[in-house]
Subunit: 439 residues, 2 copies
Amino acid sequence: MSIEDSHDTPGRLARRNFLKTGGAAVAAGTALGATLGLSSVAQAAVPAQRHAASADPMLAVEPFYGEHQGGIVTPQQAHTYVAAFDLTTASRDDVIDLLRAWTQAAARMTQAQPAASLDGIGDDRAAPDSGDALGLGPAGLTVTFGFGPGLFASEGKDRYGLSHKRPAALVDLPRFNGDQLIAAKTGGDLFVQACANDAQVAFHAVRQLARAGDGILRMRWGQAGFLSGPRKETPRNLMGFKDGTNNPPTADPKLMNQFVWATAADAPWMQGGTYTVVRRIRITLEHWDRTELGFQEQVFGRRKYSGAPIGKHHEFDAVDLDAQDKDGNPLIPDNSHVRLSNRASNNGAQILRRSYSYNDSTDFYIERWPPWRQETEYDAGLIFVAHQSDPRKGFIPINEKLSKFDLMNQFTTHVGSAVFACPPGAKPGSFIGAELFSA
Amino acid sequence: MSIEDSHDTPGRLARRNFLKTGGAAVAAGTALGATLGLSSVAQAAVPAQRHAASADPMLAVEPFYGEHQGGIVTPQQAHTYVAAFDLTTASRDDVIDLLRAWTQAAARMTQAQPAASLDGIGDDRAAPDSGDALGLGPAGLTVTFGFGPGLFASEGKDRYGLSHKRPAALVDLPRFNGDQLIAAKTGGDLFVQACANDAQVAFHAVRQLARAGDGILRMRWGQAGFLSGPRKETPRNLMGFKDGTNNPPTADPKLMNQFVWATAADAPWMQGGTYTVVRRIRITLEHWDRTELGFQEQVFGRRKYSGAPIGKHHEFDAVDLDAQDKDGNPLIPDNSHVRLSNRASNNGAQILRRSYSYNDSTDFYIERWPPWRQETEYDAGLIFVAHQSDPRKGFIPINEKLSKFDLMNQFTTHVGSAVFACPPGAKPGSFIGAELFSA
């Protein structure tokens, strides 16, 4: 996607998405409100019609059903909550029932409805929805599901008769140079990514889905993330640099087919899906902030304030990897991030990044990098999320190179990691991953 | 404050605040942009004038200087980052210099300027601002400073000659029933609370201030928080109940003088300040979500969906603590949160709550409460912030009672705690806390 598309303002999204799908949400919300007398639920939907032109990001509606799952090429919402779960059941039917329940609940929540109907519930049991998103509106919610290696085989056991369906592209990620992975933030049999224009709406979705799996799964990790907004310009990351300038354009279906959507080669059930890599990358912000401006720019290969590649003047000027200074040295250093991650340095490999910043208060620990062997305070950084048609041609070779040479590694540590096969979108009446479980 | 005031929409705030103070920000921002050619900085300010009526919460401007500090009776912005620091210097002058620098930097940042001028900086040193909030706008930023007990005496030492000026109201908080305080989330010599309508703007402010103290202080804890929005109704907390219905009205100066602003009785330098209690309250959401609806309502003493007190029909119906059922039992249980925290149950004591939800991903630990002695997953809950004229008549007696009897304690654990004396606002040219350091 071009930057202008990828970092569309929530306002523009709200309007555009309402025109796509708003009507259904209004009808559903109103009916529900009428049944329950829940004024707040009704309010979530009714103003969507009244204020369609108000560009309120809380009123944006994203479709759930479709050829592809939402949350992959969907322009980024302002917040995310991503989570991974380990299955504890031995029953294939349990997994199918869970995916059916998840599909229905997710479809409802993207339309600002509770995870299940609150109609006629008594006070003698737990409500089927925790209620904390009532009245907040759809907020552009998307829910994306994925399957980790453990669904196909766990400790050598083929628990669900699926091992022969594991795609070759769903590889176990290798250890990368510098990895300091924390088990409690790594891996997982099932993946849920909720993105919305409100932090509570995103977290609410994951909470309801986690609860729907009570007794057959266990949460492995969860992580909130955010982007700053509204984003009329390319957003700056926590390092103060503009981030996201070089993503492939999602508006180009040919490029999306080439780099993002899975081919059915060895796993027909993945046709229209994608492979998703998640990395929790902690950034030593307090050391970064003390680093000379010129050095920061060498690390990125870009100017900090304008976002222009070194040697150029404007953010969207093409990166010229051949440019030299008067001594014949490269203007953009060999070990700069922009050079090492550039398509031209990776045999044309590209991935679709859809990352968020995270900020989990403070956590004092000793950093691996020698100059910073001292207490590090902020537990903040990047929830790196990248989609691709095959990680063996995408994230893995790119990160093999980055993890060895990138100057930025002095300030970043990968502490969490996971890879998932995200199946295609569900058809109404069916469920996410149905093709995987068909005979 | 009434609910309508206390949970004003960001939109309305933006407009109102711009009328108050927008002009100065525009002028300052434009001048800065012109000097540096930083289009993003200029953009942060210029649209404030052009779109004064656009009600964009990113363009809201709050004054920094004044009789009181901002962020106390200021209607709540959508995000916060609160932090506490321990002083490591032995020099009184270092502390004064720090407070001067903090005052100037905070005043600049509330007007969407970098913490210090970027004018003429070279690339051979660290920039005086990390740059991650460039172009985001003022976003209604307020920065509130406070002094912990350690400023007056630390391990028995009067490091800065201030011990005779410690207010009697700045007591060390007692241990409360059920406290499970984590040292790394408790206490602190200095307090900074940044609130803004954007998470990155709030965090950015604290980062710059932390860095300004390099060499004379150490971060003790930091914590991000959020509210859902926009908030046309009382916001629901992570437990799904409406939260904030019974705060004293900030629009009533008499009540604010009675309950919020410090009296100068034993510490004249605190005239116009307040005492602030911060508690990090973890909530076992996964257990709460499995609890019967009727029991949840008994815990709160309110209906979940409407927010009405039990026995009433509407959120703003008065709480009737005398109402009985047909057997003569109280309709609102003796151990319900609304009864125990109610003014009538606390000899008229009131505090001004200004809390945020927090969501720090997952952290598996064993919960203290017997029924839940199992792994708890979400590290989420409430950053409770309460302002009062005297904690001995506010938070302490109220929480003594709550910590013993509140049904809600089954689901909540206080894991962090701090108390601070927040001095009055600074006058232009002076600095926060100047009166404390005057001879």
